[in-house]
Symmetry: C2
Subunit: 328 residues, 2 copies
């Protein structure tokens, strides 16, 4: 990107579409968010009305930073987003059904170039542009949340695959015949164990299978038990809670070893709620990743947490698409 272009249009608009809310922000090339806001996604049953309201909410912010001429483009992160086609396809958590040509709709409404990808790919680009992967050409981003997402960068480029859907590492089968995933029908996928939902499930199973082991977790209504409760108990030395992290780390570590033997990244970057557990999670993950690696890969993969604040990461990632994207 030429410096002259950057002077003329120094900002990117990042839009992160979640099932509940859509957040947006105007971001400069260093990752500073100048202006930001949000609208409800869920209240818009029709995508057309969503685009109209998004425009109305965003334009005042664009005017504040000097008008549309100052915006180089729009980056959108969305569940089931397809980079090649700029579409959101059959997203289970959105009420817009089928294949929605969202990038084109936004491009036409705003009169600015727009790129779209899934949220985990956007997170990876954000990390490469502003975060822990700055300067790296080969890394894997793993987002741990309600699900497990991933973005893979090799040779300095996001891997999209032939159809734009590459990087569904949460759905790789790590324990064949293992835990059932009600969303996909698969048995033993990484997401069934390493997501916040999976960690909750592991805790409930361990409480049930070890009725004689005392645990603070038993004081919490099982319906309401969440992964952060497990963390809160684990740091106090609760045996079952510690066991939950050891088990989660074992499976995630094994999965990461397989990913390393695929693309030999310089680093694996973990992002999302469960990373708040810090070394409680990182230590068993690292131990089991290393144990399952071929010798040529041992002791050289950086396993780190995201450097982006969780509240801003999605907007930053989406905006980074504008700077990173191939101009083709």
């Amino acid at each position: 990107m030429a410096v002259a272009d950057l002077n003329k249009a120094p900002y990117a608009l990042g839009i992160d579409i979640g099932g509940t809310n859509t957040k947006f922000g105007i971001v400069d090339v260093r990752g500073d968010i100048l202006e930001s806001g949000s609208i409800s996604t869920r209240n818009h049953k029709e995508v057309e009305g969503f685009i109209d309201d998004l425009y109305d909410a965003v334009m005042p912010l664009i005017e504040k930073v000097g008008g549309k001429e100052r915006i180089k483009g729009i980056g959108v992160g969305a569940p089931n987003g397809n980079y090649y086609k700029g579409t959101v396809e059959y997203a289970p958590n959105l009420s817009w059904k089928g294949v929605v040509p969202l990038a084109n709709m936004i491009k036409e409404k705003f009169g600015l170039p727009a790129w779209l990808t899934n949220d985990a790919n956007a997170a990876a680009v954000g990390e490469m542009m502003y975060g822990a992967a700055r300067g790296m050409r080969d890394f894997i981003m793993i987002t741990l949340g309600t699900g497990v997402g991933s973005g893979i960068v090799a040779n300095g480029q996001l891997i999209y695959g032939h159809d734009g859907f590459a990087g569904e590492l949460g759905h790789t089968i790590i324990i064949p015949g293992g835990r059932y995933h009600p969303g996909t029908g698969a048995y033993g996928s990484l997401e069934a164990y390493a997501s916040a939902t999976g960690i909750r499930k592991t805790a409930l199973e361990m409480l049930e299978n070890n009725p004689d082991t005392p645990s603070e977790l038993r004081k919490i209504d099982p319906e309401l038990l969440e992964s952060y409760h497990v963390f809160n108990c684990a740091i106090k030395g609760d045996k079952i809670a510690l066991e939950v992290f050891a088990f989660t780390g074992k499976i995630l570590g094994l999965a990461l070893a397989n990913f390393v033997m695929f693309s030999s990244p310089e680093a694996i970057i973990l992002f999302g709620g469960p990373t708040k557990a810090g070394d409680l999670l990182l230590n068993p993950v690292r131990e089991h990743m290393e144990a399952n690696l071929l010798p040529i890969f041992k002791n050289k993969i950086k396993l780190v947490f995201s450097l982006l604040p969780e509240s801003d990461a999605a907007i930053l990632g989406a905006s980074a698409l504008v700077w990173e994207t191939r101009q083709d």
Copy 2:
């Protein structure tokens, strides 16, 4: 590559270094082998003597096609070859120990540019240049032999990873705690099941575990039983032999599903001895790959055999490095 360059230097020298023999050939851009030959690898305990003898064997062929000026460069496929460094590192099947700067040694001896990569990556480049992956930008090559090798192409480029060692899919763990791999110490890696060695092992296990099931395979000395015997019996309807392919296909299919969810390739190309089994292998592989894929990937990945003749594939792959390689 400019046409003028191609007219001036229309040929590539491909060198495939195996544990026993080293084969070489002069190849044009269409994949026709004009001249070829081989020398022993095993008889050369010192790499310096090997390079001298290789030069003496190759130069007469180079003279035949018009001299060194007609050769654009040298591509080398070697076990444990590192593309970035041009080295062969700790190759268990070669007598040259440690890190051998083979590409540089060849470059200096021949006075021609030289590139080196591992044999499976070379096979992938060969397939992209001359074979089943022509025109594809995203595919995975799986070589089934004594071991299981792989080469991964994404965005039209081989994935080498940050250190040059990417694409060790044979060592990914598919069945945690599964079959022991004596070469690596891992339990349940793909190579332990899907290599020719693994297929032999599966046959021996099934014969032992089903003593009452008649099988033609029992007529073969267990010490001498090889994967092609299993194939020969399977096509005659031998129950145990068929079961061996069903089992192998189940594990390979599961592994391929995981690889698809990583890089979403247009095709997976299988190469090597066990592919002679044709649909006996391909059908269960496809069935189990599809069964383990997320819906967005189903029924769109081409699963095909290599189009390169096995005897020439290694030379073609090595030579293709010269045409394909990034000029950096």
